[in-house]
Symmetry: C2
Amino acid sequence: MAKRAKPTIDAVEILHRRFYEGKPARLKNLEEARANEEIARKIHELRTAANLTQTQLARLIETTASVICRLEDADYEGHSLAMLRRIAGALNQRVEIRFVPIRRSA
Amino acid sequence: MAKRAKPTIDAVEILHRRFYEGKPARLKNLEEARANEEIARKIHELRTAANLTQTQLARLIETTASVICRLEDADYEGHSLAMLRRIAGALNQRVEIRFVPIRRSA
DNA sequence: TTGCGCTTTCGCAACATTGCGAATAGACTG
DNA sequence: CAGTCTATTCGCAATGTTGCGAAAGCGCAA
């Protein structure tokens, strides 16, 4: 994921401006999507860091590999506290939840 | 909730030693219960800080007061990310989730 | 090529959370 | 006391998440 140096045109930025800027509803969805993606990535990270396959982690929390796979899918929108806690517990972690203020951009 | 100064016997501590110490399963439940309680309290805090009644907050996230009441009940165990996000959104906050390592006590 | 381990996708039943109204309780005011 | 506002509890239908097996994809080594 190397950063390109000063592209003449940044397509991502253009798309952002076109579709998201100044559109709260869309921005909200975008943020949620990013949050879910981050959770998925984090689960994957924790699992691989612990040197476990999906099947092995699945056994630890008494479910199946397909469930773990679903959780690691960046497009999955059904993350629940209950499941995050089960995974955290199996990996000697705990889930910390915080509400942090959002700064309203102009 | 003033702290009592050096009680001769601390009942809470005694109970803790008797029922929880060195019993991982019970400790886990205890931790979960505390986490839920904390979430409930946090929601209550955010709502009152924003000067809203349960009914008002309920309208903001398009539900009813009884639902908010349930969320603020310390004994409620069904907290979900989806709901936490809705509330956070209505109050200009976002939900941050982190996995933090647990230190194994001896 | 085959075989093996790991991951991904699909469908549906089972279980958990939310939606919501109605009834009750508590605090406060007039 | 009645009247009002707020919070709480209950039950059940509607929606959402999880459980789980089966099948298929992928990478890699023999």
